[in-house]
């Protein structure tokens, strides 16, 4: 009973087997495609695609040591590519695939996992103190018991049961690099199995953090790499894990939300591996073929990297960066400061599990059986059956099913978002600013009209209470969740003060400050960021006059 019966994430012990499996399957697929197309040069196209994209990347990556090493490896592996015969090209392809699979595959260590999860709060402090010794002396963060500060809600027992009945894939919202640490700790704390974690490579830049991420079972997702072979290898890795019954986690949004809003468009590649794994499991007659997706919302009163993220979002079109590495997460001092403050305040962090679903987006009952929109039990095997009655893959069909899954997850994110004081205050204040400046475009509003603007406390409270009463209705209808401070009877004034407390405790400039009996808007970009968390429920109409 308990953790022992769950598969552990990929470790040094078994990663070679998985890597070889992935390499074999990826290469065989490419060879099959080449044969089907009757194109002798097909394998060369794949390799050239790799070289082309990597050369492009090298040009913009400059002289980084890693990139140089990468290019050296590529050129030595693909030497005399055009003169090689089919067998020779196949060998090159295998080497390339193995290189990527090896980079991706995890390094779980039970010892490190145990240490990390027991000591994560202290570990974090040690991690960042180690890389910045001054902090050992300058600050003594009083990181009180994490358990009482991070609220975790949802039907945990049901999720554990599904992890026994099949393979689970946790799909959280993503707005901060803190997510990986918070979720890793929290999931273990509630007794869920250690997950194979798809983590962005930027989490591995800090060597000590990399040590922990590896130990926790993370596999590396390098989003800088754009070529098909890498993406295929990554998908095959995820597929192999799921088929092997290894519970997983990845962020379906792919990257942190820049605007602060909940994800609306998800990345289909990794998301679709659950359905492919299910089909393969059926074809191979696995005893526990089912894959269960578990949406999870991670909700913060204050987001570590908010300033960098919203700044990036607001950059002119084309200048936005998909991968940001030099943000607040790379500054240990900032993390300590945030953690210290967050962990010492109530209603600052909240995790909410959504209802589990199958790879087509249908909800499932306690026994892991899928249900249709009318609550009827479904045999989902039938959805992947062809005209001849046999289970088969169908790329176009499965892509459409995965699109429906994505819709279901996005809807779940909204139903299970936990509204905190800073979201309410940010939304109300920004919408009031907008209403006072009708027709003004966003950039002008943020740069000229908003800064220094005063809103009377009375008006602010009134606006906040309008939002709260609608949120209460939405909550009663099951359309959103409410954090500790957003409760019936909690007056708008308390929410405002709580939010202002959060707004002033961490960011470079306080988002808003109190000035007499008014609220002064100081950092408009951040105000906009926190406002965006509440888009998607039609709350904007509360602040529009008669239309």
């Amino acid at each position: 009973m308990g953790k022992q019966e769950w598969r552990l994430p990929v470790s040094e012990h078994d990663r070679d087997v998985i890597i070889e499996d992935v390499v074999r399957r990826v290469v065989e697929e490419k060879v099959r495609e080449a044969e089907r197309a009757g194109d002798a040069a097909a394998l060369e196209h794949v390799i050239n695609d790799v070289l082309y994209h990597e050369k492009l990347r090298a040009r913009s990556a400059g002289d980084s040591h890693d990139m140089q090493r990468e290019m050296a490896f590529l050129s030595s592996t693909t030497r005399r590519l055009s003169q090689a015969d089919f067998a020779g090209k196949r060998v090159m392809l295998e080497k390339l695939t193995r290189h990527y699979a090896d980079d991706i595959a995890g390094h779980f260590s039970p010892r490190i996992f145990d240490f990390s999860t027991r000591l994560l709060p202290v570990g974090l402090e040690a991690v960042f103190s180690a890389s910045s010794p001054a902090f050992l002396f300058n600050s003594s963060p009083n990181i009180s018991d994490l358990q009482s500060r991070i609220v975790i809600r949802g039907d945990i027992e049901r999720i554990k049961e599904l992890a026994r009945l099949g393979t689970i894939v946790v799909t959280p919202t993503h707005c901060s690099n803190m997510d990986s640490l918070v979720v890793g700790w929290a999931l273990n704390d509630v007794g869920l199995p250690p997950l194979n974690y798809g983590a962005g490579k930027n989490l591995f830049v800090n060597k000590i953090l990399a040590f922990f991420m590896n130990g926790l079972g993370a596999y590396k997702v390098d989003r800088r790499i754009k070529h098909e072979l890498y993406k295929d290898t990554l998908k095959m890795y995820s597929l192999a894990l799921l088929e092997d019954g290894r519970h997983s986690l990845f962020f379906p949004g792919g990257t942190r939300s820049r605007s602060g809003a909940l994800e609306k468009k998800l990345k289909m590649g990794l998301l679709g591996t659950g359905l492919s794994a299910y089909v393969n499991n059926l074809i191979n007659e696995k005893p526990k073929p089912n894959i269960y997706y578990v949406p999870l919302t991670i909700n913060y009163a204050i987001v570590l990297e908010a300033e960098t993220l919203i700044d990036d979002y607001l950059k002119e079109v084309g200048k936005s960066r998909y991968i940001i590495v030099d943000d607040e997460f790379s500054k240990p001092a900032k993390i300590i400061k945030l953690l210290t403050n967050l962990l010492n305040m109530e209603s600052s962090m909240s995790l909410q599990f959504g209802e589990p679903m199958d790879p087509l987006g249908n909800l499932v009952d306690e026994d892991g059986v899928s249900l249709d929109s009318k609550g009827r039990k479904l045999d989902i095997r039938k959805y992947v059956t062809g005209a001849d009655g046999n289970v088969r893959h169908d790329a176009a069909r499965d892509m459409e099913y995965t699109r429906e899954l994505a819709e279901g997850i996005v809807a779940s994110f909204h139903r299970n978002a936990v509204v905190l004081s800073t979201h309410v205050a940010g939304f109300a204040l920004f919408e009031m600013l907008k209403a006072a400046n009708p027709g003004i475009d966003l950039y002008r509003l943020l740069r000229f009209e908003g800064e220094g603007r005063l809103i009377s406390v009375a008006d602010a409270v009134a606006g906040i209470e309008r939002v709260i009463s609608r949120l209460l209705e939405l909550n009663a209808a099951g359309k959103v969740k409410l954090g500790g401070s957003v409760r019936p009877g909690e007056c708008g004034r308390e929410v405002l003060y709580k939010a202002m407390n959060f707004f002033g405790m961490y960011h470079t400039k306080p988002v808003v400050v109190r000035k007499g009996d008014s609220v002064k808007l100081v950092d408009l970009n951040l105000l906009y960021y926190y406002h965006n968390r509440l888009t998607g429920w039609g709350l904007e109409e509360l602040f529009r006059g008669d239309d």
Binding site: S373, D379, K382, G386, A387, E404
Partner: protein
Amino acid sequence: MEPIRESVSVIGGGSWGTAIAQLAADAGADVLMWMRDAAKAEAINATRRNETYWPQFELGENIRATSDLEELAGHAKLIFSAAPSHGFRDIARELGSFIGGDHILIHGTKGLEPDTQKRMSEIIKEETPAKRIGVLCGPNIAEETMQRQPAATVVASKYPEVVERAQAALASPSFRVYGSRDPLGVEYAGALKNVVAICAGIVSGLGMGSNTLAMLITRGAAEMRRFGIRMGAMDVTFSGLAGIGDLIVTCSSSLSRNHRVGVRLSGGEKLDDIISDMKRVAEGVKAAKSIYEIARRNKIDMPIVWGVYAMLYEGAGVDEVKHILMTRPSIYEEDYSRTDR
């Protein structure tokens, strides 16, 4: 993928349902038709004719009829529906308990659900477990189909498999089945053209000729396209069989219910009188209300739909409407972005 000769089930024993059944039978399938009326089903099995709608045609041997929905679901994985828009949800709900994820459901209903304005595919998703859904729509007058006159239709679906299996089931030397990836557009096109058809009846009733009809069809198609694109459809759907194709056939035919409603409106009759002595309400009458409401909510400019709606539901006179439509400000043909309404 090798196409498989599969059995076909058809919901609806009316003129179009029978025509679909005959098409599938001609293509070689084993067909089972469903209708509510058990006596009618027995009669079809006994006489090999649908006496109510097609007494003149003998139905293929491989066509059988039943009033048992469960039997229908068990007979074939490929189900076509010719049920009308009213009562569609009830039939879908009943069917829902008998079908599974391996059923393919293709509906040919040209209309929207009256109170909710939902498309039939949305109703199917709400009431049944089916996910592989398609829409069949095109210039297919039932009688000419029964006569095996060369014709074509469109089957639209997000799932290529649905299109392939529909093609295999219906295509023959006298019937072409084109695929489409735009089920939403095809569904709206089907509902919209019935409204334009009422207007064609008005045009005919007023004694106007080809010039007027051509203007109506062309600008009607433009209006349909504007609506469709705003609602998320593909542009090209409206220049296809489900768009302009169906519009041409419906507006040229004086036999349809929509046409008759239009003729009567042109004579000054009001909606209540018209409904009271027509056995079944023309689809266009219901669609006019649904489309008008969607257009108004989304600020889509639809003058022809407005005109029909105003005459049906606001008692507007035909001369008044004609004047307003003909004296609208002139625009360029390709301006589809107007949102004043």
